[in-house]
Subunit: 214 residues, 2 copies
DNA sequence: TCAATAGTGTCTATGAGACACTATTAA
DNA sequence: TTAATAGTGTCTCATAGACACTATTGA
């Protein structure tokens, strides 16, 4: 890298004003039998609950900044952050000129070990009123997750394999926030599933086949 | 804005290193009877052809930076830049630590007044080998445009209204890069179109109804 | 009349919704 | 046996592909 680069107008790159760049992440999960939920952290200074985020360090990839913020602020081992959108309203952050790159990360509930009282899991329907436009980021993230869960069986691996058709349908219902028709759901998913020999037999009812993705 | 804000560790916001932030834009259009094409500008320093871009000015919205870059570098009156993705590879730009926010803008061919020899229009199939990962940005932009043109009739307004079904289908074929079945295309589009009383009668053939969107 | 393009009617295959029916278990 | 859940078979309706057919123009 060269700080001495000059553009067509003879200006050095370093002479241009630069924004602070933050990453803010909606970590989504579905607890067993629960609703689609998001990780919030308590801000050390202001004391409010918000999405975990951090400023990007020099030369750091955005995805790495996300993983660092999740590890440090929420005690979460994030997996595969997915970039959503840059929020660039100059007035959105009262600390100055800050661009926020919103991310989505999807983590299976059993892998979520929230760090004490600084982090909590909240159903997305109840996670509103956050600062710095974090409500908008959450909305973006939920919309993205729902779009990928409308076709394929558990594409982000929220369920442990193998799983039954009912478990899969209940997961999709939690993600999509609506009831699904069991018949249509089964027919749409079966071509993308591989049945195994193991069955689930707990409580009454015919034993359910367990499936693998793919 | 306050430069004196301090975070939980007592550090001022201004103390954090900050990246340069650029916007780079794929301006797409379809010339009458032609293929999907993109605007390239010749770099004043290096002399190569690339996508128009600029560094974001302090407090400026990303979309405004895009419009400014199109006006100044390509002589184009951009319309509604759409954000695509942040390219953040620290090594992607040899000038230093630069984040590039890729954008898509869609402009009707008659509205494109390219500025002399500094800008040109190239079919997307022939626009490759650009610096700073601009090939990837173009690929992103084309994919986005194709996804919005797969359902609705000319959603980005590339055609002047009213237009005939053939004109609409030829536009969609140019955008999607593939032939479409006239029957299925007509049936898919008719519910989203309003017929007018005017007809097109040039050359032989039954006069074609002209339609409006919506 | 002929060539060319616009537009209609309809047959068929496919897939979703609906729902009755069978299968297999625990209690 | 009964209740409960899993899974199958099939009817109907909506839609896409295919394609024959009609409609209206310029030459």
């Amino acid at each position: 890298m060269s700080d001495e680069f000059r553009d067509a107008s003879g200006k050095r790159l370093a002479d241009y004003p630069r924004p602070s760049v933050a990453v803010d992440t909606a970590v989504l999960t579905v607890p067993a039998g629960g609703a689609l939920s998001v990780v919030q952290v308590r801000d050390a200074v202001a004391g409010d609950w918000r999405l975990p985020g951090t400023f990007v360090h020099e030369g750091e990839r955005l995805a790495d900044a996300v993983l660092r913020s999740l590890r440090e602020k929420a005690g979460v081992s994030g997996l595969a952050p997915q970039q959503l959108h840059v929020f660039d309203d100059p007035a959105r952050d009262d600390r100055g000129w800050v661009l926020s790159v919103a991310h989505l990360d999807v983590v299976p509930a059993p892998a979520l070990e929230l760090g004490g009282t600084r982090a909590r899991l909240v159903p997305v329907a109840e996670a509103n009123g956050m600062v710095h436009g974090h409500d908008d980021i959450l909305e973006f993230a939920v919309a993205r997750l729902r779009s990928v869960y409308s076709d394929a069986p558990d594409p982000r691996g929220l369920l442990d394999e193998p799983f039954t058709m009912s478990e899969l349908r209940q997961l999709h219902e939690a993600v999509l926030g609506e009831r699904l028709l069991p018949d249509s759901f089964r027919r749409a998913m079966l071509p993308h599933l591989t049945p195994t020999d193991t069955k689930r037999t707990d409580g009454p009812g015919k034993p359910a086949t367990r499936y693998l993705r793919g």
